[in-house]
């Protein structure tokens, strides 16, 4: 869990005001010996491996769906108190640029933020907004304690994101089609 928090802090160093291309997000940490959940697939055939564990909240940017097939199975790490009635969700963003975390009509507060929710009460679809940054939509799950380390993107950083070019391209294609 701690390693995930540290990673989040590091990732969050991409400040919103920066306009330079953003480096590719780092892979999530996994315990020593644990295979990365989103690692590229081994060339087939894949050997069956024993189960390992991965901490909650350790999300990695997966380049494709390769972990969907042929990847090793990684059991969830045990919870400290799986019978607790509530869960705690920590939301972390770049420390120098506090961001508001909004849940529907309610502003939950400014990051870093801890949210306590009834266990299993359904996910929270959150919008994280900060001056100079693109609004970021994320989801917090209430199945277990979690830490969400968020990387906010500056308004000029859109081109570095998946889908930016596709959207621009599709507009372009539409324009060209319209001229025919």
């Amino acid at each position: 869990m701690t390693r995930a928090v540290l990673l989040g802090t590091c990732v969050a160093l991409g400040a919103c005001a920066r306009s330079a291309p953003v480096p590719a997000p780092a892979a999530a940490p996994v315990p020593a010996g644990a295979p990365a959940a989103a690692a590229a697939p081994e060339p087939p055939p894949v050997e069956a491996k024993p189960l390992t564990t991965i901490p909650a909240g350790a999300a990695s940017e997966s380049p494709d769906a390769s972990d969907q097939v042929a990847g090793p199975l990684v059991q969830e790490s045990p919870e400290r108190d799986p019978k607790s009635e509530t869960v705690t969700i920590k939301i972390i963003t770049e420390s120098r640029r506090p961001a508001h975390v909004v849940w529907g009509r309610k502003d939950l507060g400014v990051t870093p933020l801890e949210i306590t929710r009834p266990r299993g009460s359904g996910p929270l679809d959150l919008v994280v907004v900060a001056p100079g940054c693109l609004p970021l939509h994320t989801r917090a799950f209430t199945d277990r304690d979690d830490t969400i380390a968020l990387r906010l993107y500056g308004e000029s950083e859109g081109p570095s994101l998946l889908g930016y070019h596709a959207e621009a391209q599709s507009k372009d294609v539409k324009g060209r089609q319209g001229r025919r």
Partner: protein
């Protein structure tokens, strides 16, 4: 009333293939009440697919247990003995070999039960809470509370309504009073009502009025009594007269549909323009079809008209029977639903037919509940307040399982791909070529028994075919998405599986608007990803892997991205293609994999971590998709064999075309199509549900 059912539909498998036919076609030969039942459901006489009246237990009743009082809820069960319901001791029932069928709202199939790890720790099966919340109309697919009046009509998606939902339907429908002019004969005077989009509808109705005026003028001029006589007398007008009369009958039937939908409280007449198939009425029709498991997809076809013609309590009774069958099959740990006509060798040296246990358990359960008619069911729900459905269960004797049952049955599965076409479905001029299939893909489950392979159940499924796919150059091509042929195994079964969309997935489908804590906002769309009934892998899946011997005792497995899985897209099971996977109706997938886990050695792995995140841009904002879990996994030991048969290859090509093929009529920027990825994940989805 606002239903949350998604916008794709079809009809339901009650018991499997056999049950499906029963619902779709039920009522065709049954007598239909000639006048409107008012209040609705008052006429319980004629019913489509009415089961034989259950045998009411009469003395001697060896399975009748003594009444028990003062038991805690977990030890209570009920029985109807000599027409009287009594509470009995569930523990005594178990000791007597009776089966307890849960009627509680919090019941879920065993595949969604929590597991226990080797260290004794609970392995949480988290989707269970969502599943039960959806069934009981408590929550939406995210586990958030439903708004007042909102309903989940999800039976077609594999989530039958909870008993308290049925109770509410029975009690409400028993009170409804329909328009006294509602005429079932008029409603059923056509097989189908033509419908159009809003603009076309106005034009078509105007054309109809103009034709009516023209024909009426011609009739008067000819001095004939009827338009039929005009058609007989004037050959030039005969075709127009026929079309006019057909349309008239359809419009008359349409008016009855309006009355019926309003009567059931599904349509607000104040928001509907009479005679128009407007949004209000389409929504009402859709909800009606979803509620009653009719797969007509807002079309006003025969199955919908017949369901509308039935008294409301009859429809409620059919829903109750479907719910009871589902629960009873799980309680009995059975799979035989009448879809097998095979036989097996018995210890007595004779051959015995594989029984239709779905029918048997339904009859046994209805009899033990004292229910034979909709009115009996209404009485049952009237005597049980909603809170009873926290604990209610029925103690009933089910038929003894056939001899081939045991804790470790030698199960095998097979998929026959049926008729297969590899030819490109367009000719050089871009004209689509017919590729008819007489034999459709079929899934079969077998048990090895006394040297034979005995068929237990056979259902429709899907195979891959020609699908549009977004290539690396950003343009769409056709590609043959085939289903692997040959022996494979199921090694893992997954409850509430998660599907990861490949990078080629259209980003537009990954964002949706949703009500969140009192505001409508854009959110990342997890519907197709899951876990959930709309997941591309449905409510449950088994992963096909190729097993290879490796070294002295080693075994390796290769996953080529193919699964047998449940699907929300039930219409695809009526003849469309998948991306290579073998789809089943969600409820059947859940039933099948629960059965396999109950009769085959398996290890519960529990929730498997995924730790996946994807960040993407959409319309000036940034969205994250976070997938912490792959689903709840079970490991079969040994794996269950599944053989995919090649089927009958038709046409000229005997092997599929590899790579992309240009779509006719599309201009492409590049001289030749880019190379198609040949990775397992590209087989497993590549931009759409597998």
């Amino acid at each position: 009333m606002w239903a949350r059912s998604p916008g794709r539909l079809a009809e339901i498998a009650i018991r499997g293939a056999a049950g499906l036919l029963a619902v779709a076609g039920c009522g065709c030969s049954s007598p239909i009440p000639m006048s409107a039942p008012t209040p609705a459901g008052g006429d319980g006489g004629s019913v489509a697919a009415r089961p034989p009246a259950p045998r009411r237990p009469s003395a001697p009743d060896p399975d009748a247990l003594p009444p028990a009082a003062g038991l805690p809820p977990e030890r209570r069960a009920i029985q109807v003995v000599d027409g009287e319901e009594r509470v009995v001791d569930a523990d005594v029932a178990r000791a007597r070999g009776l089966t307890l069928v849960e009627l509680g709202d919090d019941w879920a199939p065993a595949i969604f039960d929590d597991g226990v790890g080797p260290d004794g720790a609970v392995l949480p099966n988290r989707y269970r809470a969502t599943l039960t919340g959806l069934a009981a109309d408590r929550t939406d697919g995210d586990g958030q509370p439903l708004a007042a009046g909102e309903k989940n009509y999800l039976e077609l998606y594999g989530i039958p309504p909870a008993p308290s939902v049925l109770r509410a339907r029975f009690l409400a429908d028993a009170q409804r009073v329909c328009d006294p002019t509602f005429d079932v004969t008029r409603l059923l005077s056509v097989d189908e009502i033509t419908s159009w989009g809003a603009t076309t509808e106005q034009k078509e109705l105007a054309k109809h009025r103009a034709r009516a005026a023209k024909l009426e003028a011609a009739r008067q001029k000819a001095g004939l009594d009827t338009l039929e006589a005009l058609g007989d007398a004037d050959a030039r007008l005969a075709k127009e007269v026929r079309a006019h009369l057909k349309m008239e009958a359809e419009r008359a039937s349409f008016a009855e549909v309006e009355k019926r939908l309003a009567c059931e409280g599904l349509m607000d007449p104040a928001k509907h323009k009479a005679g128009s198939y407007d949004t209000e009425m389409r929504t009402a029709t859709f909800n009606f079809q979803q509620k009653h498991a009719v797969m007509d997809q807002t079309d006003l076809k025969r199955a919908t008209l017949e369901a509308l013609a039935r008294p409301m309590l009859e429809n409620d009774f059919l829903a109750l029977r479907r719910v009871l069958v589902e629960r009873a099959m799980h309680a009995g740990r059975f799979i035989e639903d009448g879809s097998s006509t095979a036989s097996y060798p018995g210890a007595d040296g004779k051959r015995h037919p594989v029984p239709d246990l779905a029918s048997a358990v339904e009859q046994a359960l209805l009899a033990r509940m004292g229910i034979g008619t909709p009115e009996d069911a209404l009485a049952f729900f009237r005597r049980h307040p909603a809170q009873d459905f926290r604990w209610l269960r029925v103690a009933v004797r089910f038929p003894a399982p056939p001899e081939y049952y045991g804790p470790e049955m030698r199960l095998e599965a097979e998929i026959d791909r049926g008729d297969v076409w590899y030819d490109f479905p367009f000719d050089a001029a871009g004209v689509r070529q017919p590729q008819p299939r007489e034999r459709f893909p079929a899934f079969s489950l077998y048990v090895r028994w006394r040297g034979e392979r005995v068929l237990l159940a056979r259902w429709r499924t899907t195979i891959g075919g020609w699908r549009a796919e977004l290539a690396a150059d950003g343009q769409e091509y056709y590609r043959y998405k085939g289903s692997d042929v040959g022996p494979r195994v199921w090694r893992h079964i997954v409850a509430a599986p998660v599907w990861i969309p490949p990078l080629s997935s259209p980003l537009g489908s990954m964002v949706k608007e949703k009500r969140v804590n009192g505001a409508f906002v854009k959110v990342t769309n997890y519907d197709e990803v899951g876990p959930g009934y709309l997941s591309a892998y449905g409510l449950a899946a088994a992963i096909h892997v190729e097993m290879h011997k490796s070294g002295a005792n080693g075994v390796t497995y290769f996953d080529n991205g193919i699964r047998t899985h449940g699907s929300f897209d039930y219409t695809s099971l009526r003849g469309r293609f998948s991306h290579g996977c073998h789809r089943l109706y969600n409820n059947l997938a859940v039933r099948l994999f629960t059965f396999v886990l109950q009769h085959h050695r398996a290890r519960t792995l529990g929730p498997i971590a995924l730790g996946f995140k994807r960040t993407f841009w959409w319309k000036g904002e940034v969205f994250e998709m976070r997938l912490p879990s792959r689903g709840f996994y079970y490991e079969l030991d040994p794996p269950v064999p599944i053989d995919v048969l090649e089927g009958h290859v038709k046409g000229t090509r005997q092997k599929p075309i590899a790579g992309y093929v240009r779509k006719p009529g599309v201009s492409y920027a590049s001289a030749r199509p880019p190379a198609a990825p040949n990775t397992p994940e590209s087989r497993a989805g590549a931009g759409a549900e597998p």
